[in-house]
Symmetry: C4
Subunit: 340 residues, 4 copies
Amino acid sequence: MINTTSRRKIEHLKLCAESPVEARGVNAGFEDVTLIHRALPELNMDELDLSVDFLGKGMQAPFLIASITGGHPDTLPVNAALAAAAEELGVGIGVGSQRAAIDDPAQEDSFRVVRDKAPGAFVYGNVGAAQIRQYGVEGVEKLIEMIDADALAIHLNFLQEAIQPEGDRDATGCLDMIAEICSVLKTPVIVKETGAGVSREDAILLHKAGVSAIDVGGVGGTSWAGVEVYRAKESKDSVSERLGELFWDFGIPTVASLIESRVSLPLIATGGVRTGLDIAKSLALGASAASAALPFVGPSLEGRESVVKVLSRMLDEFRAAMFLCGCANIKALHNSPVVV
Amino acid sequence: MINTTSRRKIEHLKLCAESPVEARGVNAGFEDVTLIHRALPELNMDELDLSVDFLGKGMQAPFLIASITGGHPDTLPVNAALAAAAEELGVGIGVGSQRAAIDDPAQEDSFRVVRDKAPGAFVYGNVGAAQIRQYGVEGVEKLIEMIDADALAIHLNFLQEAIQPEGDRDATGCLDMIAEICSVLKTPVIVKETGAGVSREDAILLHKAGVSAIDVGGVGGTSWAGVEVYRAKESKDSVSERLGELFWDFGIPTVASLIESRVSLPLIATGGVRTGLDIAKSLALGASAASAALPFVGPSLEGRESVVKVLSRMLDEFRAAMFLCGCANIKALHNSPVVV
Amino acid sequence: MINTTSRRKIEHLKLCAESPVEARGVNAGFEDVTLIHRALPELNMDELDLSVDFLGKGMQAPFLIASITGGHPDTLPVNAALAAAAEELGVGIGVGSQRAAIDDPAQEDSFRVVRDKAPGAFVYGNVGAAQIRQYGVEGVEKLIEMIDADALAIHLNFLQEAIQPEGDRDATGCLDMIAEICSVLKTPVIVKETGAGVSREDAILLHKAGVSAIDVGGVGGTSWAGVEVYRAKESKDSVSERLGELFWDFGIPTVASLIESRVSLPLIATGGVRTGLDIAKSLALGASAASAALPFVGPSLEGRESVVKVLSRMLDEFRAAMFLCGCANIKALHNSPVVV
Amino acid sequence: MINTTSRRKIEHLKLCAESPVEARGVNAGFEDVTLIHRALPELNMDELDLSVDFLGKGMQAPFLIASITGGHPDTLPVNAALAAAAEELGVGIGVGSQRAAIDDPAQEDSFRVVRDKAPGAFVYGNVGAAQIRQYGVEGVEKLIEMIDADALAIHLNFLQEAIQPEGDRDATGCLDMIAEICSVLKTPVIVKETGAGVSREDAILLHKAGVSAIDVGGVGGTSWAGVEVYRAKESKDSVSERLGELFWDFGIPTVASLIESRVSLPLIATGGVRTGLDIAKSLALGASAASAALPFVGPSLEGRESVVKVLSRMLDEFRAAMFLCGCANIKALHNSPVVV
Ligand SMILES: Cc1cc2nc3c(=O)[nH]c(=O)nc-3n(C[C@H](O)[C@H](O)[C@H](O)COP(=O)(O)O)c2cc1C
Ligand SMILES: Cc1cc2nc3c(=O)[nH]c(=O)nc-3n(C[C@H](O)[C@H](O)[C@H](O)COP(=O)(O)O)c2cc1C
Ligand SMILES: Cc1cc2nc3c(=O)[nH]c(=O)nc-3n(C[C@H](O)[C@H](O)[C@H](O)COP(=O)(O)O)c2cc1C
Ligand SMILES: Cc1cc2nc3c(=O)[nH]c(=O)nc-3n(C[C@H](O)[C@H](O)[C@H](O)COP(=O)(O)O)c2cc1C
């Protein structure tokens, strides 16, 4: 049986790698953000300092590979490829939802491989907001231990739940559980939207709940309503298909969400981050780091080298952007002017 | 003879169902309205309360099937289908202009079927502003009794009259007659534009005239100038055709008219309402309810089930929108922020 | 010889009638002007009063056929057709530049026919600003007598002169001569741009010079730089062709010019006026009248009936616009709100 | 060996002449600048005074052929053609980077020809900001003597350096060296961006460093990142190719840079200046002169006459623009209003 579901999991990754699953009528907003060119940077581009401290751990650049997968044997090499690349280039990495490993401990290996291959990297665990109500603090602690995580991401994806016929549409009690976990857990907690963005009001509530960072996960990149459209088409569920179509671009674009969510918490810019220019713009707008998932999905199916290639390109672009904006380090980039 | 005109009436419905009769260069404005996504809705989507009280009567959702037809034997099954669907899903419904039943009482059945099939629904009657000058208060009372109406809609369509070669272009005295009817009638009076929108000045005049609600009927959906273009083409009347082309998009878009018409009267948002997102946006902008005609025209020719399908889809979309905006009930939606 | 040049004159009219000579990348601005729909006009459309008094003479509608032609035998029937239509519908009419009749008195008939066919209409004469320096007040008086003109239009077309290889590029002394003519002449003087618009500064200077009215002749309709492109192509003059291309849309759009030129003088809105909606918008923006040339060029080659057809259509559209904006007369239209 | 590199140099000119190397998604901004048409210019177009004094030398029009080439025998006729045209029409001219002549004195002739063919023109030398650190003041003085230059342009092109695999990415110390050169040199120093624009902050630093003029060299014309894309494609360097694609339009558009750089220094508007209207707009926005390179590249390969033709066209267009804006001389143009 595992063989079938595993294959489906891989097929799901392939869907994201091969079909257009990104926002269609809206973009993340990076096009509307302009960095200011410095004709006289007065810097040596080969000596820029891209390193940051993120939630207490050093990273060689303010970037993370966002949560993608895990939970089935076939995802192990995928996670291994992603983790090895992250380790090589000194960036952070998240695992996909660890629910499958709770349901079936045999699947833990596909998550553990991330820490194995990225012993020095900032690694974060992943669990859904709906699940934490069930697991409680202890369940959540297991997830952290499983991969010796530097942080735990609690993901929010109620847009997807609202569209899936089998979705969990009860969103009550999540905030209280987040607050409880934050008050008990030693490990930092990131609350992470997955493509519909975080509003100012939610950011304020999360701040009060005691989270350590917010991943704004805005509109402009992978659309989970969009992914559901493909799933609905396959299962000939025309109701979910139309619902997914209508909500394909629903939510707050990444750049708008970054600006809305400034509540003196570290922010991760995710959703449609595709180039080093987008990373630079995110940081100039106040984010502590940026992350992306979709650009790594295809390469992760090919192996470590392919992931390294994409990741290097983005970091090279990021370095060029810093140089051309006259920023010697990340602090300078944070203080750098932008036109929105 | 009835057979010929009846067939024409049905053919008219088919025209609206099959040809592009909507505004072309302008839209209703819903695209410019953004609802704010709540990543943490803290609600159970299956327990949202969509019910409203509208002009003294309860509805299970703030939506109405707008005035469409009646007045010929062939329209009876059409109205039956619409009414049965409205009853099933607990929304309101209007009948088409009752003029034909005044001219020929034999046609009353095609209107009465609405109340028969929707005994519990909010049902409104319909008469043109030009006609009320003729019928007087008593004539109007008959229309209400005919379908045991919960309200009477007096429709305004001078744009169409100005384009039709046979149109009634005398618009004098309508306002006084509206005021008289409002002062005498016990049943609430809705004044209803049919696709060119209500301006602030008209809304103020209607408020003073004592109407109970305004249906803004703005530009963005069915264009009556557009419908006249098709009619003129068929009768090779090139003058009306050009006039219809020029005024196809004339008037105030629905969203603009909603904002203009805020004069402390209940508002119905009509004109280009096509999805549950549009309903949600209308209510967030201050409307008490939304309504639509065109999306139901085609299905109504097929029967109750087809109408139920479209109506259910719109209400499901509306429910998802409320959930994702963190609104437990209609009052919360009214207070929900929007970006225009 | 006359036959050749006459034929050229007619060919010139044909060029304007058949080739795209209008502004390309810019429009007159009417699309950005919105009239406010009145759902309850409280008027009888068949009893609207469109009449105006313009520079001391009554017109049945605030519209004129702008200066087009004259000066060659073949233009006589063209002017006859235009004039008869103007007379029939009670609008004003201008003649083309009367220079040819000064150079050769035999050509006077082609201008005189306008007054012959339009004995009751507001008729205006036409002369270039460059010519008046030569003709002096007396020369100009002859032009007025020639057609018993109600006003004299002095046209400005230095954009065209700057592009034509043979153009008169000396624009000095025009303003003084205009002032002198205004101070001596009994007949009202209109200063009339021909497609590049009048700026605020020019409007102020013209006001001081004592002119009776300004025809803003803005960008958005016939482009004289554009017409020169065709001429240059034919004569294989690539320098003028490129110059014409570059300046095709140069100048101030009609609507912008109308707003700029408000200096308490009667304004005529010309340049891209194509429909009765444009006329209504012009008047709502403050113009005393609107005029157009291009829409009548093709019909004038066919005869009176064709001109009447186009003119009637525009006036019918204008009447519908007034009705739907709740304006009983031109004064009401002047006071009617617009959104720009 | 010279034959090979020379041919490459010419091939490089051909690349710029034949392939689309300009900004793609952004323009220089001239489309957003509107000159105000004067219907009554009150000028004689044949008597306009276009002459200016630029950095102490007279020019017959405020325009320069920007730095293009030199440094190989095959570029000598190219520079000869450009210089002869500049001399004929009385505009300024710059030479390409003189580095090649420092490396190999045999190449000096290809630069000297500019002064030979343009004895009366404003001629400026050219050196990279990275090179001056090496050459020192004395080296730089030699460059000036080489062509008896009226000014020396120090060019900034760190965007290109950041993209070239072999690029010089050390930008430190340039500003100090510029300041030193300015304090010692008698000849005026122009600091010249080459297509990514000068920001306000850089303009202020350059002002403090004592430069005599700034050439803003903004986005909108030739893109050096774009040129690198072609080079990378040929050498199958996909990393540089993608980097070049991403930064193709990076930087500050010419018009924005002109406005940003107003620091009471003479400004040259370069980058996408293509017509005489662009020159007029540049001056109305405050530039002391405009310049362009790309429009002359193709013609310079054909010879003097072709360059004269393009240059004459631009100056004719400029003259027409001044006439139609009522500007008798350059001072009037500087004071002329523009709408941005
Ligand atoms: C194939 C795939 C699987 C994902 N799985 C998870 C997940 O399990 N948990 C999670 O929090 N986010 C998950 N995400 C969301 C991403 O972490 C990220 O928030 C989102 O894709 C937006 O970023 P992008 O536009 O760069 O893809 C997944 C994304 C993709 C493409
Ligand atoms: C086929 C058809 C017939 C209609 N007949 C009437 C009518 O008799 N009375 C009326 O007030 N409105 C009538 N309407 C107008 C609608 O009630 C509604 O105001 C208008 O169509 C705009 O809504 P929509 O864009 O959703 O179609 C009719 C609309 C359609 C499409
Ligand atoms: C064929 C043709 C000939 C014209 N001749 C004259 C003329 O002699 N004198 C003049 O003042 N304007 C002349 N005009 C300009 C028009 O009067 C008018 O100002 C201009 O065409 C803009 O209006 P439109 O866009 O409606 O064509 C002519 C226009 C056309 C199309
Ligand atoms: C073929 C070519 C060679 C150039 N070489 C130089 C150079 O050596 N030094 C320099 O300062 N600028 C050089 N430039 C840049 C131009 O001087 C100018 O700043 C830039 O091309 C933008 O202007 P444009 O859009 O009119 O081409 C060169 C441009 C071109 C097209």
